[in-house]
Symmetry: C2
Subunit: 192 residues, 2 copies
Amino acid sequence: MFEKLFENIRKKIVITEREEEICRSLFIPKKLRKRQYLLQQGDVTKYTAFVEKGLLRSYIIDDKGAELIMQFAPEGWWINDMYSAITGEPAEQNIDAIEDSELLLLTTQGYEQLMQEAPVFERFFRLQLQNSFVALQRRLKGNIILTAEEKYKNFIQAYPNIVQRVPQHNIASFLGITPESLSRIRKQMAER
Amino acid sequence: MFEKLFENIRKKIVITEREEEICRSLFIPKKLRKRQYLLQQGDVTKYTAFVEKGLLRSYIIDDKGAELIMQFAPEGWWINDMYSAITGEPAEQNIDAIEDSELLLLTTQGYEQLMQEAPVFERFFRLQLQNSFVALQRRLKGNIILTAEEKYKNFIQAYPNIVQRVPQHNIASFLGITPESLSRIRKQMAER
DNA sequence: AAAAACTCTTGATGTATGTTAATGAAATCA
DNA sequence: TGATTTCATTAACATACATCAAGAGTTTTT
């Protein structure tokens, strides 16, 4: 159950047997069925989730009822509503499972405890955040300067596996375009 | 010279006299004149900068020659090209001064040294990154779901001081709209 | 196995914002 | 102080993408 987690952690830091034990004691295994929520808008985030198996998404619903997918999280990825986690305010995001999934959950309290008992995790999460930040900057940039078609091409280039696993309108939602536009773009691309 | 820096650090962590000393030895004071570059696209990032005084911006120029401002950094803010800093690859971003500025620079090496000699800074930069990440998520969201007018209103709400200090087309560039559009939006807003 | 819900496609039409271009004012430079 | 660059405004026109609406497969539910 913990293989993917330790593999993920060891990509960034070195941990001891002892620290592995601490993780085993703090992370809570949890299964989620397709369409089941891990977090709903308005609730306060309780967990930071690591995905061992399956696929999750986080998304928001704006005032006009439009959905925007903030993140896809397949195996080996982390997901939570960072805003709610650090402020303790109700979450703006929803997180649910796109496929039946197996998670390892770290409570907000467990998160702090982990840092205390194994300070090397300060470093781990810092490095993790650096990468997330850079990825998000790139996404913002793409969103502003690219055309819808370029956004889609970048996406299938960057996440070919996700393309296979989610309905097309989810990709549109992630890219910030309508499903209709994406459909037309794909048609054009196929015609050439 | 270091007042703002320590004030900024102490908002997130507790540091000792000793750690203050380490900072004094690692941060390099530097003045930058208006329009002077701290980093140019293609060069590798050498520094992470803390702004003691003045105002900087980071921006990219895309293939079509369009400019996109990624960040404004007034007093008390940090700025660098995170991508280049963590990968060692040439920077995509430019960073320059909008006003004559006074900076405290931490070299990439100094950054690592700081973590070694004062590990509490792992925590500091982690917390820092958490906030940056949340702010960036909010910006991405706004960029996708808001109209140009809403984007502008949010901006003047969030950064009233920046509005006073930079030319209007810089704000347009930050928001991802054209200066002409912003001008029209302001006209409309004034008419009501 | 029928009903319901979801998913994708396609067409007609609308609109927010971009593009191009010209002008004048303000700031900076020499 | 005159010359030059930067900045903001405005108008006419263009366009990428959204919206609305209908239809046909698919998948899921009962």
